[in-house]
């Protein structure tokens, strides 16, 4: 299998217990990331390859539209795009079963779409409308869909890592054959929450896959500036098997996650994957694409060489499962879908302010006051019979 590599803790006892099943490959290291366009589908089913292509196109067009909508003020607040990292959304989330859980970061539009959430509902959420997947309460950073088992949309760096681990706990508690995928950025590795959570997953053998999207930077800070070790070293301290995959190569990513999800579902305990990728845009809409912490040349070169869509395109063409015309047709379809999403978002109404106090609690209080802001419009919950 190209572009993925696995390491396990060298210490005997732990290795014996964790039984990493990944086959180590020899292309680990700096070169791995540059070996994108292969000449085959690496054993991936052609139908799957086509589906992944469609997904990645959808993600790209969605994000481009979000960028436009932000520029004209239809979207507010923070907005973090995933452009350049589509391979990791499609290859990770796309490799799961429908009833597997996913929790992501604030850079999660595509992850939500990959889990099957409707582009309409996601776009409407970015617009802050009632038709949004979080009814306009969450916005870009806080997308949710309980029915699709998409749990967020978490805005505190690494905050979702314990949460995901707890979902894994619930799966094991009920004896289910499910997986929870926890997506995080490489900068989250420096948060204590990450460490505490991984230790739990290790000691209780929880069915969690930690997928670290290493896009080189956390805001303006390159990982090497805030760590003396590599991304794939960090989980070894807990005895969790570590894998590295080239996220720009969606087929490798997909293949690895398919296998790991299967293992986890059958009781392997947690896995940890470094997905090597690159963010083509700024950290958020207010961050310049280049100039401050990375050079224009760097961004241009990597955007040019490591576009996951181009890489898959070349593979699909080479394998003969798709040609230029089909691709263009697919893209046209996707664009239409995104137009529809934007229209849906536009026509969905803003939430009614009278519902401001909804969803804070399960229900208004039968006794006592839940809200003490003294506003007339606050639900008049509370007491009376005293």
């Amino acid at each position: 299998m190209a572009n993925s590599h696995t390491r396990a803790k060298t210490q005997e006892k732990v290795e014996a217990e964790s039984e990493p099943r990944s086959t180590a490959s020899s292309d680990y290291g700096k070169g791995a990331l540059r070996q994108g366009g292969g000449d085959s589908l690496n054993g991936v089913d052609p139908e799957v390859a086509v589906r992944l292509m469609r997904q990645m196109l959808l993600f790209r067009r969605f994000e481009e539209r979000a960028e436009e909508a932000y520029a004209i003020g239809k979207i507010g607040g923070f907005c973090h795009l995933h452009i350049g990292q589509e391979g990791s959304a499609a290859g990770t989330v796309g490799a799961l079963h429908q009833d597997d859980y996913v929790i992501g970061t604030y850079r999660e539009h595509t992850q939500a779409l990959a889990k099957g959430m409707s582009p309409n509902a996601v776009m409407a959420e970015l617009y802050g409308r009632v038709g949004g997947c979080s009814r306009g309460r969450g916005g870009s950073m806080h997308l949710f869909d309980a029915e699709k088992y998409f749990l967020g949309g978490a805005g505190i760096v690494a905050g979702q890592v314990p949460t995901a681990t707890g979902v894994g706990f619930a799966i094991r508690y009920r004896g289910e054959k499910r997986v929870v995928l926890c997506l995080l950025g490489e900068a989250a590795l420096n948060q204590g929450a990450f460490h505490e959570a991984l230790n739990f997953a290790a000691i209780w053998k929880l069915p969690v896959i930690y997928a670290v999207e290493n896009n080189v930077y956390g805001m303006g800070t390159a990982f090497y500036r805030v760590s003396r070790t590599h991304v794939d070293d960090r989980a070894l301290a807990y005895g969790i098997p570590c894998h590295v995959v080239n996220g720009q190569d969606v087929l490798s990513t997909y293949t690895l996650f398919r296998r790991l999800a299967d293992e986890v579902r059958h009781g392997s305990g947690p896995h940890y994957v470094e997905i090597r990728t690159y963010r083509f845009k700024g950290h958020s809409m207010s961050d310049p694409v280049s100039g401050t912490y990375r050079s224009k040349e760097e961004v241009e070169q990597r955007t040019e060489e490591e576009d996951p869509i181009r890489i898959l395109k070349e593979r699909c063409f080479a394998a003969g499962v798709m040609d230029q015309e089909e691709l263009e047709g697919m893209d046209a379809e996707v664009r239409k879908q995104i137009d529809g999403a934007a229209q849906f978002a536009d026509s969905s109404p803003a939430p009614d302010p009278v519902n401001l106090y909804d969803y804070v609690y399960a229900q208004t209080s039968q006794h006592g006051r839940l809200f003490l802001d003294g506003r007339d419009d606050a639900p008049g919950d509370g007491g009376a019979e005293a």
Binding site: R137, L151, F169, R174, E196, Y361, L370
Partner: protein, 347 residues
Amino acid sequence: MTPPATVVQRPRVAELTYREALNQALQEEMKRDESVFLMGEEVAQYHGAYKVSKGLLEHFGNRRVLDTPISELGFSGLGVGAALAGLRPVIEFMTFNFSFLALDQVINTAAKWRYMSGGQFKVPIVFRGPNGAALQLAAQHSHACETYYFHAPGIKVVAPATPADAKGLLKAAIRDDDPVIVLEGELLYNIRGTVPEDGEHIVPLGKADVKRTGTDLSIVAHGRSVHLALQAAGELEQEGVDTEVVDLRSLRPLDAETVLASVRKTNRAICVEEGWPFGGVGGQVVSIIQEEAFDWLDAPVFRVTQADVPMPYAKNLEQTAKPSLERVVRACHRVLYGDGAWGDDTQ
């Protein structure tokens, strides 16, 4: 003390400690609902640092009673995740002093996932453990943490003062679909009281309890301070003062109506709490009283709190720093017998 209002038919009662009452609540709810589990430091094999979980491991096994590493942020977040996925975790903080480390998970995840998801997710989780100063544990181990939790919408907070309330409120908290903080009194675990054995003994969240009725003065308190208030009421009785003691029981939801009804009757009130004054519970209660019963007040509402210092270790300093019976009585006297020109004397 009035018996809890929810108990309809005459239940079997037992004389239990506060600790045993909490233990009974946990046992009953774990029996009743397979999705309830207990997690925390030393809760299983050690039966809890304060022995609240005695016998639970033996009864329910290590699937449902789990010892954790010392990772407060981690296991709090783990609990939230488990709740999101449909379980009903009860998380024990060995003491609430250590919960500062977990605050982000409580405020930013537990309290907000329902809201931010537009109501799609619920987070039925209980965070419980001893709260408030015990004896000579010094500054890092003597916090009353009310303020840190009742401040944030999305969270509920209760603080039982008696064994019966401890059982009834913990059961209500476990059954509640929102995150509930249960502040147990570290110095209350050994107090005894009558507790309904009834498995359906629930004290609803948000209902204050008038622990003593009176006409001259209201003392508003919660948790351990209720006992101080009752003692003070006893002393004042000697002087012919008839004191009403309102035990808030819940800090959020807050039973403003019971407080207001009491003050409208007595026209004078003080608030007693174990915590620090800035941003304390008292300020909130005072605000409500003066906003909504302004015309009924014959005196300002005074507050008795811990001295506004980190808790000292030395026994005598600690005693001075804690709210004392003497201080409570003195505040009552001030409210009762002030010279009627409120304000001058304090400048």
